[in-house]
Symmetry: C2
Subunit: 279 residues, 2 copies
């Protein structure tokens, strides 16, 4: 059984391309590596996005990126050479703002400076919850302690985390992601955070709703085995991992998540999908 | 049963004082509150230590303090007015150095500047493990990321943590403790840290060995319900919590740890013990 499963996962996945109606792509680590300035496009990925757009497949971009407003973030992708527009991109911050409004919550924010304008219209006085994103260098001892003091001072601490990633890759190496600081605050206050973004099923479903597709009609391609691939599979979608970005060889021996396919990069994944659909 | 247990815990504890041969005291939050400069002695605690020293009980101090060398730390306590000498105080760093030597490990250190001299004689080249203490402001994003990169680069990551506290109290408020950053690195690298210090049974046992006592002959007094009281109880000692330092009223309703007694402060605990022994 194990051998058969492995064979299916490793070489059988492009067959599902025949029944696909849409593809969802992660951004960082799949289209580009972040780093100094705008970062760098991963070879072949600009062309791969063009090919998908020229096909009959629907295409959306689902990211846990929380270092910039959606407009600035998409501007960066366009400068890198990608044909992407704002309404095709789904980051966690707009989803978080909806949840805060619905539940009448006023956040203490610990997020990257560049993301703050997204929260301009949100009441932040007398905070009754804490919301953290990938704050990177802003995750100083002082700032984390301040967020902790707000949480521990609440009768019922509420902590939101924009994603739960462990780390990501920049051009100069691996960087700690928001999930690490989520775990830190969870332990400090003995609470469980509510994750907004991948792998939350609600978050994937909002993208599928926008595409007008059922889960089995869509494929997620990402570099994060647990949050991209596992999250998508948990929703009933197929999930393929690329060997770029934060990919590590040990991902292919992960104890609980097995990708439907593993490919060298996005260009290879797209060529396999489109070639399969031509048969 | 619950009522009976509560009564025993709350008012019955001083009776165990008759069979005691020694007392172990936590320091921060029991003898003093840390903060600017040397911090401040908790009212009555200087006199309480004097009374214990004048009694026939053996006395040791067991701390997860890792911000200074043992000599500097004891110097601070003496300036605050406490009659304490270096060989009575047990912090985690000397225990850690023994373990590193035994196992041939070379640490990457993420500790408070003041603790570094303790590790002067330890080989730190080409590190094959990471050791963290309460680094406070040195827990910057950059420093935590550096420790993470060392760990994730090891074939088998080994992480030591000097204590696992959630937070402690300084004169200007609650501060995040080392355990929070231990959990952060555990999650980032999918490893389990080895804790050196309270509540590690090995650590408590080393203090008992120095006193020449069996666990049932000793009482631990601390402000940390889980690490002081629970840790001591786990070793077979009695554990009493003071309502100073990081004590919070919810500690008295903790789901898994119930102190053998809860007292307003060290002075009250010592008076109860000595008064019981005179009967």
């Amino acid at each position: 059984m194990r051998t058969k499963h492995f064979v299916m996962a490793d070489t059988g996945w492009p067959r599902c391309a025949n029944s696909l109606k849409g593809v969802i792509l992660d951004l960082c680590g799949v289209l580009y590596d972040s780093g100094e300035g705008d970062g760098v496009a991963i070879p072949g990925s600009i062309e791969a996005v063009k090919k998908l757009k020229a096909s009959d497949l629907k295409l959306r971009f689902c990211t846990n990126e929380t270092q910039a407003t959606r407009e600035k973030f998409v501007g960066k992708l366009q400068r890198l050479g990608f044909d992407i527009s704002v309404n095709e991109v789904f980051p966690p911050a707009p989803a978080a703002i909806s949840i805060l409004r619905e539940r009448g919550l006023r956040p203490h924010l610990l997020v990257y400076d560049g993301l703050l304008p997204e929260f301009d219209g949100v009441d932040k006085t007398d905070p009754n919850c804490v919301l953290i994103g990938d704050a990177a260098e802003r995750f100083s001892y002082q700032n984390l302690n301040e967020a902790f003091r707000v949480l521990i001072g609440l009768e019922k601490p509420v902590l939101f985390s924009l994603g739960q990633g462990r780390y990501y890759k920049e051009t100069d190496g691996l960087k700690l992601d928001v999930g690490v600081y989520m775990k830190a605050l969870e332990y400090a206050c003995d609470v469980k955070a509510e994750v907004i973004g991948k792998p939350s099923p609600t978050f994937f479903q909002s993208v599928l709703n926008d595409m007008g597709l059922q889960p089995h009609e869509a494929l997620m391609i990402g570099d994060d085995l647990v949050n991209d691939v596992g999250g998508a599979q948990h929703c009933g979608m197929k999930g393929v991992q690329v060997r770029t970005g934060k990919y590590r060889p040990s991902d292919e021996r992960h104890p609980t998540v097995t990708a439907d396919g593993t490919v060298d990069n996005l260009a290879q994944a797209v060529d396999m999908i489109l070639s399969q659909r031509r048969h």
